[in-house]
Structure formats: structure tokens, C-alpha cells
């Protein structure tokens, strides 16, 4: 029997970070790193070096301001807003050198909304058993081949397609009935 440990809530994780638990901070960065990265490179189309600066600044400010966060459960929309603000600052900085009318890409808002949805799905993935988590993340998010996945997880490549299909069904079931969190866009 596979025992799946429910991940800590965002609020619990923030409280542990504030109490000085380095391990909780590592987990918080791991939990939101893809989201922050995706906002910078997909929604705001920052080049890698600017995206890296924004990424590090987001987590540095988050660490500094944990004490003053008004609602621990709202860390996700707070991080989303901070990332967007820093991306806009970065684009405005570049616009000073080469003026443009509006530095923010026109569809940034819609892309962030989609990334919010994607984060819900990834958080649901965290609630599945380790083997499902690994196989779905490697195939879809990391774009690994059946062969690479088979080698990494020591499973026959011929069984991977059926595992993916089975795990997608489990993920779909996990997503049904879950309360939807508040997103950076403020939407539910």
C-alpha cells in the first residue's frame, strides 16, 4: 500500500519559515519556484539573465518580509503580485534605454491566469503517490522521453504510456472537488 503524505498548507509552511526552519524555506522555494520562473519568462518574456535577477529578488524580498506578511495563507497571490511588479520594473528599466509605449506584454494578464491554473494542477500532483508524481512531471513538465523516464525510475519503457494514462486519471480525480485557492489575479 502506498502512503501519500498530504503536503503542508501554504500557511503552515510560511509559519514554519517564520519560526526559522531552514527546511521549510527550502520547501517554500521548491513549491513556488516554477510559478515565479514561468511568470518571468512566459508572461513577461524576460531574457534568462533578467529572469534570474527577478527570481532571486522575489525570494530575497519574500524572506525579508515574512514577518510582515498579513495573511500566511495568501503567500501565493502575494508572490504572484511581487513577481509581476518586479518584471514590470525590469521592463521599465530597459524601456528607459530604448523607449517603448507599454513595457508589459499585452497578454501577460491572461498568461498569469493560466499559470495560476497550472499551479493548482501541480499542487494536486503533489498529493499523488511518488511514482505518479514522478512519471507525470518527467513526461509533461520536464519533457523527458519514455526511455529517459524508464532509465531514471527503473521501469520498462513499454509500461510508461499506460502509467501516464492511469496517473492522469488519478490526477483528474484529485482535482475534482478541491476548493479552488485565490490566485494572483484575485480570481477563484
Amino acid at each position: 500500500m502506498t502512503i501519500v503524505t498530504e503536503p503542508a498548507s501554504d500557511a503552515a509552511l510560511v509559519a514554519r519559515c517564520r519560526a526559522g526552519e531552514d527546511e521549510a524555506w527550502r520547501e517554500l522555494v521548491e513549491r513556488f519556484s516554477r510559478y515565479v520562473y514561468a511568470i518571468a519568462v512566459q508572461a513577461f518574456r524576460l531574457p534568462e539573465h533578467d529572469a534570474e535577477d527577478v527570481f532571486q529578488e522575489v525570494f530575497a524580498r519574500t524572506y525579508e518580509r515574512l514577518e510582515s506578511l498579513r495573511d500566511d495563507a495568501a503567500i501565493r497571490p502575494w508572490l504572484g503580485q511581487l513577481t509581476r511588479r518586479l518584471c514590470i520594473d525590469c521592463l521599465r528599466g530597459e524601456a528607459r534605454e530604448e523607449p517603448v509605449e507599454e513595457p508589459e506584454p499585452p497578454n501577460a494578464e491572461q498568461i498569469v491566469e493560466r499559470l495560476d491554473e497550472a499551479l493548482d494542477v501541480h499542487h494536486a500532483l503533489d498529493r499523488l503517490s511518488g511514482d505518479c508524481r514522478e512519471v507525470l512531471d518527467r513526461f509533461f513538465a520536464r519533457d523527458e522521453s519514455y526511455r529517459t523516464i524508464g532509465d531514471a525510475l527503473d521501469i520498462p519503457p513499454g509500461t510508461i504510456a499506460s502509467r501516464i494514462s492511469r496517473c492522469l486519471e488519478k490526477l483528474k480525480a484529485e482535482l475534482v472537488g478541491r476548493t479552488e485557492p485565490v490566485h494572483a489575479s484575485g480570481k477563484r
Binding site: 527550502r26 514561468a38 527570481f55 494542477v121 507525470l136 492522469l168
Partner: protein
């Protein structure tokens, strides 16, 4: 909201991992900040050390056995100048 398998797959694809080095650097923040606090506390207590930092931050840190990476230098400049 309900999704079909194809929509779930698309949403999984939408969040690839951030570069590992970026994630690790952000995860090391607490220990980096503790190192920074130590240096600042020493600079406040030791005028000669502070003068060496102000004169040539990078070399002063190297001489004391610290690894003067860009983030540490930037953070220290802010703290010492501030």
C-alpha cells in the same frame, strides 16, 4: 472546475522546472543571510575591519576567508552604506 486529460497535460507542461542553480541559490538564502549578519555585526564592533570593508569590500572579504559572490557583495554594500 473540471478538466479533461488533455487540459491537465497542457497545464502540467505550462510549469517546467526553474533552473536548478537558481532554486538552490534561493534555498540557501537563510544561511547566506546569517553569514551576512555575522559580517555586519563584526564591522559594527571592529572599526578597523569596517574601514577595510569600505575601502575594498571584495578583497577584505577574501582576506577573511569569505566567498565574495555578487549577491553577498550587493547585500553588504547596502547594509554597510546604509
Amino acid at each position: 472546475m473540471t478538466y479533461d486529460a488533455e487540459q491537465i497535460a497542457e497545464l502540467l507542461r505550462a510549469l517546467p522546472p526553474a533552473p536548478r542553480g537558481w532554486v538552490e541559490a534561493a534555498q540557501e538564502l537563510p544561511s547566506a543571510r546569517r553569514g551576512l549578519d555575522q559580517i555586519v555585526a563584526r564591522a559594527e564592533a571592529d572599526a578597523e575591519f569596517r574601514a577595510r570593508l569600505v575601502a575594498d569590500l571584495e578583497h577584505a572579504l577574501e582576506a577573511e576567508g569569505y566567498e565574495p559572490d555578487a549577491a553577498l557583495l550587493e547585500a553588504l554594500r547596502r547594509r554597510i552604506d546604509g
